[in-house]
């Protein structure tokens, strides 16, 4: 250290702690709110724990999310998990093999294909929501897992990241493998896949969050609540006819919807940070 200024360090800690508290504030409110009875919200949002915690959580998880959504949240959790994992694995698989083709082979239209993938996939679903909905409707994919997953699994970001990662691989390694008699398929499985483990894991974190947090897409293509996902079901619980929102249930559901992706980010923080920062390097 160039210097030691205790007051400066103290000040830094103070700012950071303040930042952490402000960032955590809404979650605190949701957490204590999830332990209250519905009537406790009549005057103001409670700021300390109530005694209905176990009851609220078990009701929401196993019976019904709320009066407007008569389906237990574990079912929505399952749907979210299916969608998130489907999107994650689908994205990783197809972008990895297309990046492999683009980096390790020379073929006509190679860069055209790369640009098509890149430019078209940069169009977020929100931008072209109406025609995409119509296409899915034409394909009879409304209210289905494939409808939830397939349109999301093409990914320019993942393709781009894997392309970067493959390009930074020393060419000599490919040559050594060729001399060792490894063809393209064997090279992919024996060398490339094990060497990309950290990148795949980092991609997994980012794509899982992306998949889990999908909101608009499931919202418009599911009308049957057996296909509802957790994040989008919040909308359902908020749009109650007379404006009488069951805040305690909303908060339990919100927390449940946050837990899996937050757990993934915190648990795999190193990989996540690496994936995020590397993707943009």
């Amino acid at each position: 250290m160039i210097e030691n200024r205790p007051w400066l360090k103290l000040f830094s800690h103070f700012i950071l702690i303040a930042g952490v508290l402000i960032v955590a504030l809404p979650v605190w409110v949701a957490l204590v709110g999830s332990t209250q009875s519905a009537s406790s919200f009549a005057d103001s949002v409670p700021l300390w724990f109530g005694d209905q915690g176990v009851q609220n959580w078990s009701h929401v998880l196993f019976h019904a999310a709320g009066s407007t959504l008569q389906i237990p949240v574990w079912h929505l959790l399952l749907n979210s998990m299916i969608m998130a994992l489907g999107i994650t694995f689908g994205k990783i698989a197809i972008s990895m093999i297309s990046a492999y083709a683009i980096v390790f082979f020379r073929f006509p239209f190679r860069s055209l294909i790369f640009w098509v993938i890149f430019i078209t996939l940069m169009l977020p679903v929100e931008v072209r929501i109406v025609p995409t909905y119509q296409v899915i409707a034409n394909l009879n994919m409304l209210n289905s897992y494939s409808g939830l997953i397939l349109p999301m699994i093409a990914s320019a970001t993942a393709t781009f990241l894997f392309r970067q990662c493959f390009m930074s691989m020393p060419g000599e390694l490919v040559e050594a493998a060729r001399i060792d008699g490894a063809g393209p398929i064997r090279f992919f499985f024996d060398i490339l896949l094990p060497m990309s483990r950290t990148n795949i894991a980092a991609m997994f974190v980012i794509m899982f969050i992306y998949g889990w947090n999908q909101y608009l897409w499931p919202l418009i293509i599911t009308t049957d609540d057996t296909y509802y996902t957790l994040v989008m079901s919040i909308k359902n619980m908020l749009s109650v006819p007379d404006g009488d929102i069951e805040w305690n249930n909303v908060m339990v559901t919100t927390l449940l919807a946050m837990i899996p992706p937050v757990a993934v980010v915190v648990g795999m923080q190193k990989l996540f940070v690496k994936g995020l920062v590397d993707a943009e390097k």
Partner: protein, 291 residues
Amino acid sequence: MSVYFPQKKLPYLLVLPQLIITAIFFLWPAGQAFKQAFYREDAFGLSQTFIGFGNFIDLFQDPLYYKSMGVTMVFSFSVAFFGIAIALWLAVMADRVIRGKMVYQTLLVWPYAVAPALAGVLWWILFDPNIGPIALFLDRIGIHWNHFLNGDQAMILVVIAATWKQISYNFLFFLAGLQAIPRSLIEAAAIDGASPFKRFWDIVFPLLSPTTFFLLVVNLVYAFFDTFGVIDTTTQGGPDGSTNTLVYKVFKDGFIGLDSGGSAAQSIVLMAIVGLMTVVQFRFIERKVQY
């Protein structure tokens, strides 16, 4: 790298899945949008009439569209500005402490994982005009808060919710950027007699400018497209269109207003904007890759 496998057909097979998905779910809808943008559909969706650029002309004569553009600008730049400023401040502080850096990172990084829709809900609770603790506090100090009626307050709410989620992302990049600055530079400045404050503005901030610029682009893209959930769960574009961003308007006009032609025309305009931003972003990423 100049080492390739000699196979000629295999690469096509490998890109095929990606291309099929792209064609069905991206190119086809984009084509549809193009087509619809030049037609007008009657109220029952039974017949379509070709009207050329009619939808675009309507669009650019519609004061609501200009209002939505303004709303989008205010919203996006506010989110980008606050997100970057707060994250930078926190990152500088975190870079200064030696012990606990990782703990702070963990405690600041998790909102990245929260869905925008949920972020909206969480902040709504705090700002609910009747029961939200912050709203009640503001009332007590004389600010009457009701984001369901007051457009500016609605905007403030969605900016807060969207910024809250984005701070973690910016923080990580700034922290990585700060750690990449050679210590010797800071030491040299210290020997030259620069105070910590001066060192930040004269040395650290200029060295972070590529990161800052990158984050500015990313944050604008985020605010443009990924904040749909925030708006949909809180204000739904209201009151009176004061949080009706361009992306939200496409959805609203298409699904609720059932104006497929107008919505498609808006989609086309948005695609052009995304294309532009993508090129900027890509240029920037590619340039960074060079060294």
